[in-house]
Amino acid sequence: MSFTLGFRGALTRMRKKNTARAAAIAVLFLAFVTIFADLLASPLPVLCNYHQQLWVLPNVTHPKELDGLSCDDIQKAGHVYLTPVTCHGPLDEAPAEALLPPMAPGHMLGTDAVGRDVFARTVHGTRTTLSFAVLSTFVFVMVGLFLGAFTGFFGGTLDAIVTRAVETMSSFPTLVLAIGVQAMVPRPTVSTLFMAIVLSRWAEVTKLTRAEVRLAKSSDFALAAKALGATPLRVLLNHVFPNARTAAIVSATFGLGSVMLAEASLTFLRAGHDNSVASWGEMLSEVRDNPTAWWMLIFPGALLIIAVLSFNVLGEALRDALDPRTRSDKNTP
């Protein structure tokens, strides 16, 4: 209840800022691309008739019967009613059409060194990067919130151990640790990357939450609740935790941007996942082999910058809106 109220107030405050509004629109756009990636780029049509059978949304369901077919193949044996924006999958190679510049026929953003469509790869790369970032941020923020709240509130031996562990983990440069994990597992995949990111990030949120919880725990309202006979768990959940939550929400927003950045950096360094999925970082790394192919630098690069920028702006706006202590306009005379 208090959550929704506090949040609604924050949203109202944020809506007044133009930059925050622009960032929110950019994030919604990325979410839209992520959700509807199959409608934007897929080798299969949206609606078609193939061998006297009507297929609805085969690009989403990927039925076995149409496996390996392209829009053109289906057109020959039936009829295509509605195609996606681009009739290419992110992994469809066409060596004959390698390194086409943008605005080439059939490839509006050009192709890469093995003839994969850059538009399709950018769109599906958005899906990979964003969903990866959302999932891993959720996990490490949850781990950090839980550990931080628990240890900060109850203290004791566990607190001492977790504090040392946090100290230890913050001694590892995030990127170096993630590279280490990715290079040492036998086969780097998306799931090992996920583990590497969570491993290198949980400590930061734990530290933050712990500090906030300790602060709120010694506040008058928490002491009053305790004096009124509230159980420790009730004090933690109803009085202390809501105050520590804002910090976690803000750091999750910043975290989304930084995880996207980390994922892209690692795949750029070819220490990310295998090539079974499209990703921005992998496209950017291909520019190293083909320095003249500027279109593989510009499009995913620009999207990455927009994504990171938006999450940073949003994070800052959220902090200003949710946390009165750090509101930046308080310093304005």
């Binding site: 640790l177 290079a183 040492m184 036998p186």
Partner: protein, 510 residues
């Protein structure tokens, strides 16, 4: 001040332990290549497989060894299989041939009490050892009837040679002067001399003497590098490193533990213990990519990376502080807004995108070649720092003492720099500790894009070739460096801001 410093440094000990534990657990992620399909059990294959496992200490338990094996334990185990004549006897015989002379003091006292058949099996198994020693007749040694007699006689004559002082004397003489006589004497005790010979290597400076020691060691152990006569000093360094790392793994094959070392061995003879000891004594092994010792590579690459990182950090402070002060002073004005927008944009550009774009624009083979990577690194760092500097400066500027100073008629410049900045700079300086690991990560990326041969460049080559030794070393090294930087920045803060120190001391955080 000192109380704080000492406490801060002492608290680093558990952190160091934690770092070593995390890196150790990382090493357990490395895939062990599956054993080759042997078909029939060939003793040579079994031993080769065992060597591969031992090189990574996977034969040892992880954290605690209830039964650390030394030469004594190993010999007893071998004798058990030979006497029982079970299916492992061939492997046991091959193992015994390896252990060689060092095992004799533990075999000979027992051999007389054995049944005749077992006695000849043990004696025949020792035949390769006698061949290495240059003793006896090869045919007679393999004959079950005459072999035990040979060994009993040999032990009667030579048992006094198998003592540490006697071997040490011989080794000392061999170091001083080239002598075939001494070399023969050492080869007669076979692997028993290895401990003294190899442990003497580091204090020998004369290359010819070092070469004599290495050839004695190579004859006894049947492996290892002996550089040619007149080979460059670097070849000797390489060979010595090779002997040192081999001895680190195989010492317990040739040396008996006494009381105290046996107790210590239950901790040190574990995977974690061996790995940790290796890291502390900088025996990080050889790079599997090109066979260069990891130490040598670290010494060659680390200065490049750290120079880049520190120069970039310094440069970003030099940019960030004026920009931060300026935008805090003109806060809310056009200058502030412009800087804010610009910095947010620069801050959000991933370093590798910037590096990739800039590396395409500038040629690499002139002075710009070094300026552009530094510029790339500085951009990101400066953006983050100046945003922070603006915040802390704005906070200080709204304090009463600043207003008082202005009211007294102090010039704007003096108020900004002398009054306000002195206080506002503290928290920005503190950030150096947190900025360092980020900058180090960025340096790795920049090195790769611009082809600068530092730690990052080397690491990415190591990824391509699965060079685990290097990866472990680099993760450990950068974690320790980061920890030192964090301590340094905490100490710097405590000097600049005594309040922070007192808070830390009294809140129970330290």
């Amino acid at each position: 001040m000192f109380a704080y410093a000492i406490r801060r440094v002492l608290w680093a000990i558990p952190t160091l332990f934690g770092i070593s534990l995390v890196v150790f657990l990382l090493t357990t992620l490395i895939e062990v290549p599956p054993p080759a399909d042997l078909g029939k059990v060939d003793p040579e294959n079994v031993l080769a497989e065992e060597d591969r496992a031992r090189a990574r200490f996977v034969d040892l338990p992880r954290f605690f060894n209830t039964q650390p094996l030394d030469i004594h334990g190993r010999t007893d185990e071998i004798l058990f299989h030979l006497v029982a004549d079970d299916e492992q006897r061939e492997v046991a015989a091959a193992r015994l041939a390896r252990l060689g002379g060092a095992a004799l003091p533990f075999i000979m006292p027992q051999i007389d009490t054995m049944p005749a058949a077992a006695k000849s099996r043990v004696a025949v198994a020792l035949a390769p050892v006698a061949v290495r020693m240059g003793q006896g007749d090869a045919v007679a040694l393999r004959d079950p009837a005459s072999a035990p007699i040979f060994w009993t006689r040999y032990w009667d004559e030579h048992s006094t040679d198998f003592t540490e002082p006697s071997v040490r004397r011989t080794v000392d003489r061999l170091i001083v002067r080239d002598s075939t006589q001494r070399e023969t004497e050492l080869s007669q005790v076979d692997t028993f001399a290895l401990a003294t010979v190899i442990e003497a290597m580091p204090r020998v400076t004369d290359l010819a003497a070092l070469r004599r020691l290495m050839s004695v060691a190579a004859r006894a152990s049947g492996r290892g590098i002996v550089p040619d006569e007149g080979a460059p000093a670097a070849a000797f360094v390489r060979a010595e490193e090779d002997w040192r790392s081999w001895w680190f793994i195989h010492r317990s094959d040739y040396v008996a533990y006494d009381g105290a070392t046996k107790v210590a061995a239950s901790v040190t003879d574990t995977r974690y213990g061996r790995w940790m000891l290796g890291a502390v004594t900088s025996q990080l092994g050889l790079s599997t990519r090109d066979g260069v010792p990891i130490n040598e590579k670290l010494i060659a690459r680390a200065p490049v990376t750290f120079a880049l990182t520190f120069i970039a950090m310094l440069a970003s402070y030099l940019v960030a502080i004026p920009v931060g002060v300026l935008s805090a002073w003109r806060r809310g004005k056009a200058v502030d807004a412009t800087f804010a927008l610009l910095l947010l944009l620069v801050y959000s550009i991933p370093v590798f995108v910037l590096a990739q774009a800039l590396s395409g624009l500038f040629a690499r083979d002139n002075l710009l070649g070094l300026a552009v990577p530094i510029l790339t690194l500085t951009a990101g760092g400066a953006a983050a720092l100046s945003r922070h500097q603006r915040g802390s400066m704005a906070e200080v500027l709204s304090l009463d003492y600043v207003r008082t100073a202005r009211a007294k008629g102090v010039s704007t410049f003096r108020v900004l720099v002398v009054h306000a900045l002195r206080n506002a700079i503290v928290s920005t300086t503190t950030l150096a500790g947190l900025q360092f690991p980020l900058m180090l990560g960025s340096t790795f990326v920049v090195e790769e894009v611009f082809g600068i041969q530092g730690l990052g460049w080397e690491t990415l080559r190591a990824i391509e070739t699965h060079d685990a030794a290097w990866l472990v070393a680099v993760v450990l090294f950068s974690a320790v460096m980061t920890m030192l930087m964090l301590i340094a920045s905490d100490l710097a803060t405590s000097i600049l801001d005594p309040r922070a120190r007192d808070t830390a001391l009294h809140s129970g955080e330290l």
